[in-house]
């Protein structure tokens, strides 16, 4: 790998994402960029890095940078939670009407709340008398800024999003795509730390808190569950990531047997469990 090309790419990567890659990690660059190089028409990662330095193409650079990050955020991630939302929460709401409040509690760069908003646009006309409020929060200001702007690269926008939805809900913005105003304006964005008291946001019918708890230790997860429990209506649903559950961490929630991935309140004011030997 040409050191000059690698240094140039590493500098761009650091400037845009804060991620540092040095010569000792060239194996990482090699493995992460192999597919991007090929599908951009380059024989090798070396050729890709040379092109990024000598004949930069923003779309290729964005894809390369995205491939170097571990960001797994995509539209309609795992799909099942969105099917649950439609069938178990939104469609039954037709009977009683009123407002359904949803909290995307770790919204990252916005793909989850926008997916919820897109789903709502598709079903809203079947649900007269029902209103939807979407609150989206994240701890990272950088993520929230990107989420609010609703601008995604061509590489990002096709992850999880069928082309028909892209055409319906997005507009071209130079080489990127921007979420249409009506969708952006349907979401309330706020900075929030999951460990802070969320009481001011009111109570919700559904809380999405996916793929963030895995980064916390058990005591912190328990504290977050306490906070979420306080903000979830008694008949509400908590939605966790596909690889997350409440087992051994809290007794405030239990899985809904008929709908994997959905959690309901137990009504127990359980103390935080202690680790064995702690």
């Amino acid at each position: 790998m040409n050191p000059q090309d690698l240094t140039h790419f590493a500098t761009l990567l650091k400037a845009r994402t804060g991620i540092e890659v040095d010569a000792q990690k060239d194996y990482l660059v090699q493995s992460r960029l192999a597919t991007i190089a090929g599908t951009a028409g380059h024989e090798s990662v070396d050729d890709l890095l040379r092109a990024i330095r000598t004949a930069p193409d923003e779309r290729v650079l964005e894809a390369a940078i995205d491939a170097m990050t571990t960001n797994e955020t995509l539209f309609f991630r795992d799909q099942t939670p969105f099917d649950h939302l439609r069938k178990i929460v939104l469609e039954p709401a037709r009977r009683k009407g009123g407002t359904v409040r949803i909290w995307s509690a770790a919204c990252s760069t916005g793909q989850e709340p926008y997916s919820i908003a897109m789903l709502w646009e598709e079903v809203a006309h079947h649900l007269p008398g029902v209103r939807l409020e979407i609150m989206a929060t994240d701890y990272s200001n950088a993520c929230l800024t990107k989420a609010r702007a609703g601008i995604y690269s061509a590489f990002e926008v096709q992850r999880g999003l069928p082309v028909q939805k892209l055409m319906k809900h997005f507009e071209p913005d130079g080489p990127n795509w921007r979420v249409k105003d009506n969708l952006r304006q349907s979401i309330t964005w706020r900075r929030h730390n999951l460990l802070d008291n969320p009481a001011a946001m009111g109570r919700f019918d559904v809380i999405f808190c996916r793929n963030v708890l895995i980064y916390f230790d058990r005591a912190t997860r328990s504290k977050v569950f306490d906070n979420l429990n306080g903000q979830l209506k008694d008949d509400g649903y908590l939605i966790l990531g596909a690889s997350e559950n409440v087992m051994g961490v809290t007794e405030r929630f239990r899985g809904d047997a008929s709908s994997p991935g959905l959690y309901v309140k137990t009504g127990l004011a359980a103390p935080m469990p202690r680790a064995v030997g702690a």
Binding site: T39, G41, L74, F155, Q158, V163, M167
Partner: protein
């Protein structure tokens, strides 16, 4: 086994697309432009096609229009795979009968997702 036809004038892209599709469990054939792809379809209609836009002799949009006119030409799922990412190109592709659309460059997750969205399974 689902038969895939990869249509692209770049040998590099055909090679990596073949590798990715074979990894996903598809049987893969290749064509280097629209004319070559028409011949391949007349010989054996594939179940799915990964289709570039800009190619010599016959481009992707001309190919898909010709394909959809053929007996059994409605059957293959067609996924455009191109650097053409503007609104008008995508609209034209969908109007011509494309089932999905991928922007180059892309990764394995995107390919897997888009094939699933197009209803293509190995």
């Amino acid at each position: 086994m689902t038969n895939f036809l990869v249509v692209d004038d770049s040998g590099v892209i055909r090679k990596i697309a073949r590798k990715m599709l074979e990894e996903l469990g598809f049987a893969v054939a290749e064509a280097c432009d629209g004319v070559d792809a028409i011949k391949a379809c007349e010989s054996a209609m594939p179940d799915a096609i990964l289709l570039d836009w800009n190619m010599p002799n016959m481009d992707g949009i001309t190919f898909i229009r010709a394909l959809r006119e053929k007996p059994e030409g409605e059957a293959p799922k067609v996924v455009f795979c191109t650097t053409e990412s503007d609104f008008s190109h995508i609209s034209a592709a969908l109007e011509a009968g494309a089932n999905e659309y991928i922007f180059k460059p892309f990764d394995m997750d995107t390919l897997r997702d888009k094939l699933s969205m197009a209803g293509v399974a190995a």
